[in-house]
Symmetry: C2
Subunit: 320 residues, 2 copies
């Protein structure tokens, strides 16, 4: 079978690619070819696999000829992140909405109804003055995004549901929780600090936490997120149940609990490297996010959250 | 002030234009100019008003220069209807999604943050296997459209909420109930028969009802719908409450109750002209629509449904 991962050079995408190549098959079919479409080149460990073909260019431009591939399956992870979309409205619309639509149209044109997994986001949820948001959002919570990023993700969920209803693709939208611990440097996502406050202290560096330690948030690890995306792909339509998006499993923790886990794993000195400097812009965005998530439909697919935040830190250390 | 009505030559649009011209002002401001953008020419009673400027061309093409007008307010009613969107997927995307986005971008470019009322639809609601739909949908019901038309309307609601959050427009989405009794000939909407089964018998003609008489549906009259759109425009943001869409008031009636009202108003002979011929395509679409709607936020704006279906028939007869 022939698979496509958009955003396949990124943090989650490259780990998804590695997992798929390691398992060698998907839904009982052998993976012959894995195309990684990304504006950046994938890491070497992917490039050296003979099954991998890297297409390094903006995805929107790539969509013009993508119907020729007739992919059996697609994981669509490419996206501009929340901070970028707030800073540059047009870039967000182009990267998230236009690109997803062009991709769907290419797959529609291919005509072979590929399976299609979309990485949506917990950011689809938000409080509207007319609709107070519950502390714990469920698969059935009315989503009312309060960022452009969340708006695009929800619009794409709806688009994918309709392309699926019309049998152009077999689409499934999975809302990713905030994935920690991201390696490397902070990205433009407002949620970037959720990784920074663990990653930097573990490297002996000071990290700034822009929100109070009482902030609670639904988190997941990279490996559990990859496992979730693969399970959503592998599910039958009956198992997936419906065409609306599902929440992937979340560990709902406060910043304080995160730092306690950091201390338990890496000692008090690591924890003392986290300084609190309130950032109103970040705090405003985060205050509109859910404090936690429940994931009934994901549990039906056999998926579960991390057992505690220490295990998420340990996964990160192990990978380092 | 300078207003734009897209779809202003249509059934609801032309009546909205007439009401606005008759009242002469909107939100305390005198209406100096009313632009009617529609692919069809508006009726004569509008064309002969010196305040009216008709722009008769596809709206998408008109959007390229629309920023030059700097409209104070916009009622966006132009839309491909549900049947058309099911028959021609690309036409639906272009007419509903692309056009609304181009219109919003023109208003954003104008830079004067016009007030913007969007005619969304009860068709945003639908049952998903994962989310059973309540019989009576409220402002807080999770919308999961089961038609392309409903999908576009909900995507546009989200787009408008985000353009509003960014202060590009002051947008409000009002979900129209099925408006009866439409004069003229059947249109491509799957809901067209809700008018046909009253209009045709009143004209002495046979009408086909494609669904059983137990079907229940949320209806409104043309005048109440126009009144709703104007109230949504005139409301302050605090009165409107939030950026999510609201249900306009609905009279929830069964086909049987509609026919009983027809008999009460026009006699048993009129009623006997309604023949039942089950149409699976129409019935399938309609079966995914709500049986009724509640409209708490619209009530807060002083809006109420028709008191009974006979009054809706009488409004139609009076206008004839």
């Amino acid at each position: 079978m022939k698979l496509l991962i958009t955003g396949g050079a990124g943090f989650v995408g490259s780990r998804l690619a590695r997992s798929l190549l390691t398992q060698g098959s998907l839904g009982g079919q052998k993976i012959d070819k894995l195309v990684i479409a990304d504006q950046y080149a994938p890491p070497d460990f992917l490039l050296k696999d003979p099954r991998v073909e890297a297409r390094t260019a903006p995805l929107l431009a790539q969509c013009a000829t993508l119907h020729e591939d007739r992919f059996d399956g697609v994981f669509h992870l490419a996206s501009a992140v929340s901070g970028e979309c707030e800073d540059d409205f047009d870039l967000g619309m182009r990267s998230n909405l236009d690109t997803t639509r062009a991709l769907l149209d290419a797959l529609k044109r291919a005509g072979n109804k590929p399976r299609f997994v979309f990485s949506s986001s917990i950011a689809v949820f938000g409080p509207d003055p007319a609709h107070p948001m519950p502390d714990i959002v469920t698969d059935e919570t009315l989503a009312m995004p309060q960022t452009s990023y969340g708006t695009h993700k929800l619009m794409c969920e709806l688009l994918i549901a309709d392309y699926t209803r019309k049998c152009y693709v077999d689409g499934r939208s999975a809302r990713l929780m905030t994935v920690t611990v991201r390696p490397g440097t902070p990205n433009g996502a407002a949620s970037s600090f959720f990784s920074g406050i663990i990653r930097e202290p573990l490297a002996g560096k000071v990290a700034i936490c822009p929100v109070p330690d009482t902030v609670s948030h639904p988190l997941s690890s990279a490996s559990l997120t990859v496992q979730g995306l693969i399970a959503v792909y592998a599910a039958s339509r009956e198992e997936f149940l419906g065409r609306s998006g599902i929440n992937l499993p979340a560990l709902n923790v406060t910043v304080k609990e995160m730092l306690e886990a950091l201390e338990a794993v890496a000692g008090p000195k690591a924890r003392s490297l986290v300084k609190f400097e309130f950032d109103e812009r970040i705090a405003n965005i985060v205050s509109n996010w859910p404090k936690g998530a429940a994931s009934k439909r994901a549990h039906r697919l056999g998926l579960h959250p991390a057992k505690n935040f220490a295990s998420i830190i340990e996964e990160y250390i192990q990978e380092l």
